[in-house]
């Protein structure tokens, strides 16, 4: 479906909401990058810059009780599921006000109160977990849906095969969303596997596989809507492959240019998800420049507030180190 036709089916209000959320994810990550480079944040971070349309387009269909399982590149998923930016940032800062009280950090942050079942430091690991959570939802006979995000790096792991197969044979209410950004760290998908169409693998498990333009929030919105509705109504899982790209290196500190060309990065930036949404709002006359400028300022304030909150939050007490092991 063309961008123009899709745009007509989405309301001004929703598209403006999407735009603000995309910008929130973008500005959040750029702020994290700045703080990290200035030595303010401990640990390691994997930034979501360039892939925002996937999280936003998928999570917009989820209820608060629905569950999301995420990856090492998961700040955007947390924000899109509704975890407040200040809580995510405080966790990245190792502060007691963070979603895991500073015990988790970037790759181990959990906010079940928002249906966010965690980022994960182990590639592939969330896929069996999400499948099990969907089994739980099905057995509890609730209309809860589970979404599992993972990268193209996960699809050649045993976890993907074993879990997606179980999800399909048990007809579970889960949506498997592959964020195909073409590289698993430095490993190009085309070097890792002969069949680079992740969506085509759905057929191997007897489930539908859908390929989507992951830079276009409206395209993701459409595909996710169908898949989530199907899962919620007992139709079983769907595999969605979102074609996307990270503008940054694998992790902060990796220039990301040893294994891909600057031209390729620039080419992808031409179809930037934030700019595309903004352009669509302006071109369709749904919003004018001044409205968008005030939206931009609103998001900037949100991020500034989050930084202030996280920066001023206390560290956990050293004596609490033994708490919550069991």
């Amino acid at each position: 479906m063309s961008e123009r036709v899709l745009a007509e089916q989405i309301s001004r209000e929703l598209l403006l909401t999407y735009y603000k959320k995309l910008l929130e994810l973008r500005l959040f990550e750029l702020k994290v990058q700045e703080l990290y480079r200035n030595g303010r944040l401990p640990g390691f971070v994997h930034l979501y810059v360039g892939e925002e349309a996937v999280a936003v387009g998928v999570c917009s269909h989820l209820e608060s009780a629905d569950l999301v399982f995420s990856t090492h590149r998961g700040h955007g998923h947390a924000l899109a599921k509704g975890v407040p930016a200040r809580v995510v940032l405080a966790e990245l800062w190792g502060k007691v006000t963070g979603s895991s009280g500073g015990r988790g950090g970037s790759m181990h942050m959990y906010a079940p109160e928002y249906g966010f079942m965690g980022t994960n430091g182990i590639v592939g690991a969330p896929i069996p977990l999400a499948t099990g959570a969907a089994l739980s939802a099905k057995l509890r006979k609730q209309s809860q849906v589970v979404v599992c995000f993972f990268g193209d790096g996960a699809v050649n792991s045993g976890s993907f095969h074993e879990a997606v197969n179980l999800g399909a044979v048990w007809g579970l209410p889960v949506v498997y969303v592959c964020e195909n950004n073409l590289y698993a760290t430095e490993m190009a998908l085309s070097r890792a596997t002969k069949n680079t169409s992740v969506a085509s693998r759905g057929a191997a498990y007897g489930m539908s596989g859908v390929e989507v333009d992951g830079q276009d929030v409206v395209a993701v919105h459409e595909a996710a809507q169908a898949a989530i509705q199907c899962a919620r109504q007992g139709g079983g899982p769907t595999l969605i492959e979102c074609k996307t790209y990270r503008y940054v290196g694998h992790h902060e500190g990796d220039p990301g240019t040893d294994y891909r060309t600057r031209e390729e990065v620039q080419e992808w930036k031409q179809r930037d998800p934030v700019k595309l949404a903004r352009k669509r709002l302006l071109d369709s006359g749904m919003a004018d420049e001044s409205e968008l400028q005030s939206a931009d300022q609103e998001v900037e304030r949100l991020i500034d507030t989050a930084v202030e909150f996280a920066d001023q939050s206390p560290e956990p007490s050293a004596e609490s180190v033994n708490e919550h092991v069991f």
């Binding site: 988790g104 079940p112 182990i122 690991a125 589970v146 045993g158 976890s159 074993e162």
Partner: protein, 334 residues
């Protein structure tokens, strides 16, 4: 132990614990291979499928990684689960989910997410099962913060400990021993729970303390009976759970006897037996008459040949011989 008990097998004691708890808590789901209509490779789920059906006794294909992860994910989402690896060896296919996800989740989430999952598997050597089906690596699990480790040695303990595991808020590894499934013992029909961290005094004695786990408990008891005839009074303790550990009862016994021998089916290097020796040195140094001793399997992969396998695993005779050697040693001078 209740006078009301009947004599049943270790396998049936496990079935009874599951049946009780699955009736009591209708959210419990059991996942594994051959655990449905087949009733389990070791008869460890016999009859349960008939009562609880496909939804709650979920047979899977051969996919320990996916199935274990799914059991953990279901537990994180509020469904209590048991995942049966059948042979503990096969848990290695799923070790990342057990160690990285289940054991860590409470801590990583600041206590907000629990994973009430029982990881069940049968360990140990039995009738030349060979190197791929005989491992006893429970000490690896015990070295993983966040994971409880249960080693039932008798039908009575299996029922009581399994029921406790099925009410525990976090991940528990319930590790049975393959060669114990057909052993019999008195098991009450009525409800009882055995708390974790409560060692059992298998036999009281004054001259030395023998600590043994799982199948080695029976060997230790037999050795102690033979030693009694020779005039050596051995106290035999079974920790029953090694995480949490009943450190108090074990050290009290060591302080009383001044001598410690640990019988462990794992190889000695970096073993749980080594941990018990460390505890003895840390807590009972002044009371020890002689150096503590561990009797473990030899550090070789489990051999197929019965001759070689018997050579590898501790035996009653080896225990008696080692204890006699120890009793000949004079007391430390303080």
């Amino acid at each position: 132990m209740s006078e009301q008990g009947r004599v049943i097998t270790y396998a049936d004691a496990g079935v009874e614990a599951l049946r009780d708890e699955m009736r009591r808590n209708d959210s419990i789901v059991y996942i594994g291979q051959g655990i449905g209509p087949r009733g389990g490779n070791f008869r460890q789920t016999r009859g349960l499928w008939k009562e609880f059906g496909d939804d709650r006794l979920r047979d899977t294909g051969i996919c320990e990684l996916g199935a274990t992860g799914a059991a953990i994910g279901a537990a994180m989402a509020g469904t209590r689960t048991v995942v049966d690896e059948v042979f503990l060896d096969f848990a290695l296919e799923a070790i990342t989910q057990i160690v990285q996800q289940a054991a860590n989740i409470s801590y990583m989430s600041n206590g907000k997410i629990k994973a009430p999952v029982v990881i069940r598997g049968a360990m140990g050597s039995v009738r030349s099962a060979g190197a791929h089906h005989s491992h006893t690596f429970y000490n690896w699990f015990a070295n993983t913060p966040g994971l409880k480790v249960v080693l039932p040695a008798t039908p009575y303990d299996l029922k009581g400990l399994f029921k406790t595991a099925l009410r525990d808020p976090g991940p528990v590894a319930v590790i049975e021993h393959k060669s114990l499934y057909n052993t019999k013992g008195i098991v009450p029909e009525e409800e009882y729970l055995i708390p974790f961290g409560d060692a059992r005094i298998v036999r009281a004695g004054n001259d030395l303390t023998i600590v043994a786990m799982s199948r080695m408990v029976d060997l230790a008891a037999k050795a102690a009976a033979a030693l009694a005839e020779q005039g050596v009074s051995a106290e035999v303790l079974d920790p029953r759970t090694i995480v949490p550990l009943d450190r108090h009862k074990i050290t009290t016994s060591i302080k009383k006897t001044g001598r410690l021998v640990v019988i462990d089916e794992s190889p000695s290097y970096c073993s749980f037996a080594g941990e018990l020796l460390a505890i003895a040195v840390e807590d009972c140094f002044d009371e020890l008459h002689v150096s503590p001793k561990r009797i473990c399997s030899l550090p070789v992969p489990n051999p197929f040949s019965p001759v070689l396998e018997n050579q590898m695993i501790p035996t009653v005779d080896r225990i008696i011989g080692e204890v006699n050697d120890m009793m000949k040693q004079s007391r430390r001078r303080h």
